[in-house]
Subunit: 345 residues, 2 copies
Amino acid sequence: MIFQYKYLLKITKEIFKACGTPEPEAGIVADVLVSSNLMGLDSHGVIRIPQYVRMVQKGDIIPDSPLSILKETPNTAIVDGGWNFGPVSGIRGMEVAIEKAKANSIGCVTVRNCNHAGRLGAYPQLAAEENLIGMAVCSSFGGGHYVCPWGGREGRLATNPIAFAVPTEGNPILIDVSTSVVSEGKIRVMRDGGKELPEGWVLDANGKPSTNPKDFYGPPMGVILPLGGKQGYKGYAFSMIVEILGTVLLNEGYEHDEVQARGNGLWLMALDITAFISHEQFKSRINEMVTYLKSSKTAHGFDEVTIPGEIDFRLMARRKEEGVPMEDETWRQIEEVANELGVRP
Amino acid sequence: MIFQYKYLLKITKEIFKACGTPEPEAGIVADVLVSSNLMGLDSHGVIRIPQYVRMVQKGDIIPDSPLSILKETPNTAIVDGGWNFGPVSGIRGMEVAIEKAKANSIGCVTVRNCNHAGRLGAYPQLAAEENLIGMAVCSSFGGGHYVCPWGGREGRLATNPIAFAVPTEGNPILIDVSTSVVSEGKIRVMRDGGKELPEGWVLDANGKPSTNPKDFYGPPMGVILPLGGKQGYKGYAFSMIVEILGTVLLNEGYEHDEVQARGNGLWLMALDITAFISHEQFKSRINEMVTYLKSSKTAHGFDEVTIPGEIDFRLMARRKEEGVPMEDETWRQIEEVANELGVRP
């Protein structure tokens, strides 16, 4: 099935309003979810609607919970997301960082009590749209520890992504990558499709490399490897930056009750470019960098050199024009939730 | 040959003093070089002495050049390294960031006109020793562009390392990794030893994977791949964070005369932990994280899970005790320079 993105925005917003979410927050959640679909990150898109609605009904998401600031300085803040929707906590947290960066060159914010944050790139992207440099990392304490430490064979880390965005004369350069080889979701898709995994993705429960998705799911469960293959100690190192900023600096640990275990830990930063050079100089130098990178001849099997975010924004433009494709089953589940809430899809 | 590290510190300092370096700067350079040897990063250690001395003699390094601040806010500074030794510019730049972080929660500094910065981890390590979180990235504009962009087959990026350090109850956690698969230096060693390269390190000049070091050196020259193998777009993305902060934000471009082309671009950050949680809480949570990571059973072929920096500090302790090993040829070249300068080794 194919949907106009404006329709998806509207229906998503209405569904969340119908389960008690105030207007602006419902709009934020709809924006973050639908932008994921537009960029081809369907696993972080509207497929999450049923999950989020169930979490609201269970009380795990508190859709009218205010964001509060637990501690702040002119440059820093500890933001309490109050278990609102993850995207609401993330966007509001980045708004605090942006405000501080505009007033005092840099804003650096940790977000506690934050539900599933969704597409991490959405937060630095917001900073880039305000002509700032944006950075974000996201850890998961308690849940989703599918990734082993380098040299280990038991899950101790989440996929721990790092995101980064800067303004250009066009769309931002947008980096949003995990520090593991692959996400658990991709392995699930390969398993369900009866496919072998590429080498170097997972170890079985005994710590031996495997290409069989069943060796990952067990039981007993295997692990996903950190990014980097034989240089996986580098992916592990990047993952630890995320873990320290996203978990340790939030004063979170590794023994949790059920509530804490569902949390994402966010560390967000916004940096004022003009503390260093003018916006014009920056954008002109970015142009120069992009031209230089793209001037490289292509490798065997490639037909262009792209800049991070370029393919995502290209797909976004196409999907805004041609519509967003969706699996029938995904839409069936969204429709079911909508009907339950008396929203006419 | 084996040398006591205190002797190496002394002789290094004397050599640089003998070629016109003031006392404290000579000490900084000696510290950064010898600490590299102690940690096993011999390619960034005293082997650099002859190169640095020749650069002083040629006027490329200006050993009594003062560091100046071109622009600053309470949280940021553009530091002009004045083409002093790279380690002097790096340490002095981080000292500015540390001062700002202590006074105003965060300090963020770019360092321009900076020679070869050496071991990047030395700079965030300084922040960690002051109980702060330290971060550093290092780009090279003009020179050393051995790494291709994802999908490309021509060198457009340096190995672009990222370093990060935090205080613990013992040695800092110290991350210092490049965003490419490997450094050019390691390929040189394999070539000189007549060895095949592992798969996934380089492409030949036609953009095809090769395991022959000669295909990398050409001519025509091949390229080193970004970190990540089939997920090399992730290493490329991390490299671009370094490129944007280390080159673009310094208002540097890609067409250089000889002077500019030798430069490293540094972006340094120090963050006050107590803006978020107390030092005691932080160190206790770090302990908890380390215990949790190390509690993972080991994978096939490993006998322990280590934390970034752990092996380096372990080697440092051993080399402080047992001495620093050095190739005869390396020492011969250092001795030659020392004799020339009238320093008695």
